[in-house]
């Protein structure tokens, strides 16, 4: 495993760049646990101080240190993304594998529903959801709502792989070796599905963080939870750009862009590395 990592790092520029970016973001997350004061507290430092030695990313108009604020915000945003990705992976794996392995009518019905969810614009529906929930809106509810909208694209990918695997001769060989369906799905087919699950997880984390930021900035989430989105929301509320407190906006934007590109590069490079074909090429076929 370590060798794989080393090889990837050495021969795959995307992986190297992605790893470095994600490591930077992760170190911010780790730093959040060493914050000298609770992240919600305001007026703990002098307001509107530009970046300097004492406050590397400056302070904001609410008297918070932008750096420490940022560490907590990125931690929450990342956690949110991972939660949504995890939940929606369960749905997409279940739908994709069942649809592909069963085939026939089940497949047609599931894919029809799937395509519908792919097409439906999520933002107006999430907005409507916020509108109906208002103060009841919470981190968990939003994650659940987004997970229930974020699965279809990936389910379709997983299904197409599962479908092609079903018709491969080695599947029949496994059946006639007496293996159970569970064994075939987990031991024979999963290695082919995993690369997609990995790479779509990264992309799904990106998608959900992006949407969370958007909803937060407009104020359509619980704005008291510090996330990248709510950070920008408060900066906008204080018209930070107009007031020249640019670091308040630039810091979260730069961090979240770093996260996006880092995760995306990892997804691209992992996809290539775990792709059975390139795996076979490495094995020396």
């Amino acid at each position: 495993m370590l060798r794989v990592f080393r090889d990837l790092f050495r021969y795959n520029r995307e992986f190297a760049a992605g790893t470095i970016l994600v490591l930077i973001v992760l170190s911010l997350v780790v730093a959040s646990f060493f914050s000298p004061y609770p992240p919600q507290d305001s007026y703990v430092v002098p307001p509107d101080v530009p970046p300097c030695w004492a406050y590397p990313l400056g302070t904001n108009s609410r008297g918070q240190d932008v750096f420490w604020q940022l560490t907590v915000a990125i931690r929450n945003s990342l956690l949110f993304g991972i939660a949504v990705a995890f939940l929606s992976r369960i749905i997409s794996l279940a739908i994709g594998l069942v649809s592909g392995y069963t085939g026939g009518l089940v497949d047609r019905v599931l894919m029809s529903i799937n395509d519908t969810f792919v097409v439906i614009p999520q933002f107006p529906i999430l907005t409507l959801f916020y509108f109906m929930m208002h103060d009841h809106m919470s981190w968990t509810l939003l994650a659940l709502a987004m997970a229930s909208l974020g699965w279809p694209y990936d389910a379709r990918l997983i299904r197409s792989v599962a479908l092609s695997l079903r018709n491969r001769e080695f599947t029949a060989q496994s059946v006639f070796s007496g293996m159970s369906t569970r064994q075939i799905l987990l031991e024979e087919h999963l290695p082919y599905v995993l690369p997609i699950v990995f790479s779509t997880t990264m992309n799904n984390i990106n998608w959900s963080i992006g949407l969370e930021v958007t909803l937060s900035v407009i104020g359509f989430t619980n704005i008291e939870t510090p996330t990248i989105g709510t950070m920008i929301y408060w900066a906008n509320q204080h018209t930070a750009m107009v007031a020249g407190i640019w670091w308040w906006v630039v810091a979260p934007v730069a961090t979240v862009i770093m996260t996006f590109i880092g995760l995306f590069l990892l997804s691209v490079s992992m996809n290539e590395f775990i792709d059975p074909r390139s795996r076979l090429a490495r094995m020396g076929v």
Binding site: D7, L8, R10, Y11, N12, S278, R282, G284
Partner: protein, 349 residues
């Protein structure tokens, strides 16, 4: 006899590097042969013996990781080596002088273009005819191949497999090229259709008077279509002669085995398979590449690979056990043309 194509010491390898693992697959190693005018030269061999790579190389259709590392390829209609042509001359030569019929007629025609457009793209630039005259000529040609002109308005998926292969043959012969390269053109076809298509190829070749290299693993097809036959094993030519001589009196132990093991209707004598398996071209055995499987292997076979030696007029064999005339080969100067090969590689990406 005039020579239509002369290949000397041809060497083409796949050079790959993946995650730092460098590999060299010696698909075509030191092949020398010539094809006479108006003859069908058959090449036989098992999968991954290098016959497809050979075809790709003489058709100037290589792209990385395949590289031509040495040797020369001369066609009678060219005033210089194939790999000395610039892009423009190469494009001009294609189809007018040298055309191809490939395996898998299913996929050789652009699925979103009507057959008419394919004829226009492929043949029109070389025939230099006005549009209406051009299509009259095409229709006349289709007629000769017993194809209705309605195929021109069809999309490839609207044709049956046999029809598609006929259209492909029409496409390859409409410019009346001097040389045709056929790569397993009947392999995916059913036997009834296969016979038809072979007859058509033979008929066109005779009518146009072109020379042809015909590649297939199927010796029964060669028996029916090829004038001469070259047998390839693990990237090398091991035997060559007239098809009749080879089928009647094979000399190389590999050829002998291939022919002896052919099942025939009416013949129930036990046939044997060879032990072992064809070697990996990434790591071929030393000396004669057949020696690990050869029942006649001697010490020298392990040390140096035998020169393809003329033992009778038109008959060449590379096996020490066949005749004392066969001597170790002189290694041809390697990498003679690496730079030229790179140039052509850049052209075809």
């Amino acid at each position: 006899m005039d020579v239509a194509l002369s290949v000397r010491d041809l060497r083409a390898y796949y050079l790959t590097s993946h995650f730092g693992v460098e590999r060299e697959v010696r698909a075509v190693d030191d092949i020398t042969l010539s094809v006479e005018k108006k003859e069908i030269y058959g090449i036989a061999g098992e999968s991954s013996c290098g016959k497809s790579t050979f075809i790709r190389t003489i058709a100037a259709a290589i792209r990385p990781p395949l590289r031509v590392l040495g040797g020369s390829i001369r066609y009678s209609f060219l005033d210089r080596d194939l790999y000395d042509l610039d892009e423009r001359a190469l494009t001009e030569m294609r189809w007018k002088h040298l055309s191809c019929i490939l395996q898998g007629s299913m996929n050789v025609l652009n699925p979103v273009r009507r057959v008419r457009e394919s004829f226009k793209d492929f043949a029109s630039p070389h025939m230099g005819l006005a549009r209406s005259v051009f299509f009259d000529a095409v229709k006349a040609h289709l007629n000769r191949l017993r194809l209705s002109p309605t195929v021109l308005s069809a999309f490839p998926h609207e044709l049956s497999g046999g029809m598609r292969q006929r259209v492909a043959i029409a496409l390859a012969t409409v410019c009346r090229p001097e040389f045709i390269i056929a790569d397993e053109p009947t392999t995916a076809l059913d036997v009834v259709v296969q016979k038809d298509v072979l007859a058509l190829i033979l008929e066109m070749q005779r009518e146009i008077g072109s020379s042809m290299i015909f590649v297939t693993h199927d010796l029964t097809v060669h028996a029916n279509i090829s004038n001469r036959l070259g047998i390839m094993y693990a990237g090398r030519l091991v035997e060559e002669g007239s098809t009749r001589d080879i089928l009647r009196d094979p000399m190389h132990p590999y050829t002998r085995h291939l022919i002896a093991s052919l099942p025939r209707i009416g013949d129930v004598t036990p046939k044997k398979g060879l032990s072992g398996a064809p070697p990996s071209l990434a790591d071929p055995p030393s000396g004669c590449r057949f020696h690990p499987r050869c029942p006649l292997a001697m010490d020298i076979c392990r040390q140096a690979h035998p020169e393809l030696t003329a033992l009778a007029p038109g008959r060449r064999v590379a096996c020490y056990a066949v005749s004392p005339l066969v001597q170790p080969a002189h290694e041809a100067a390697a990498a003679r043309k690496a730079t030229k090969a790179d140039k052509s590689a850049a052209f075809l990406q």
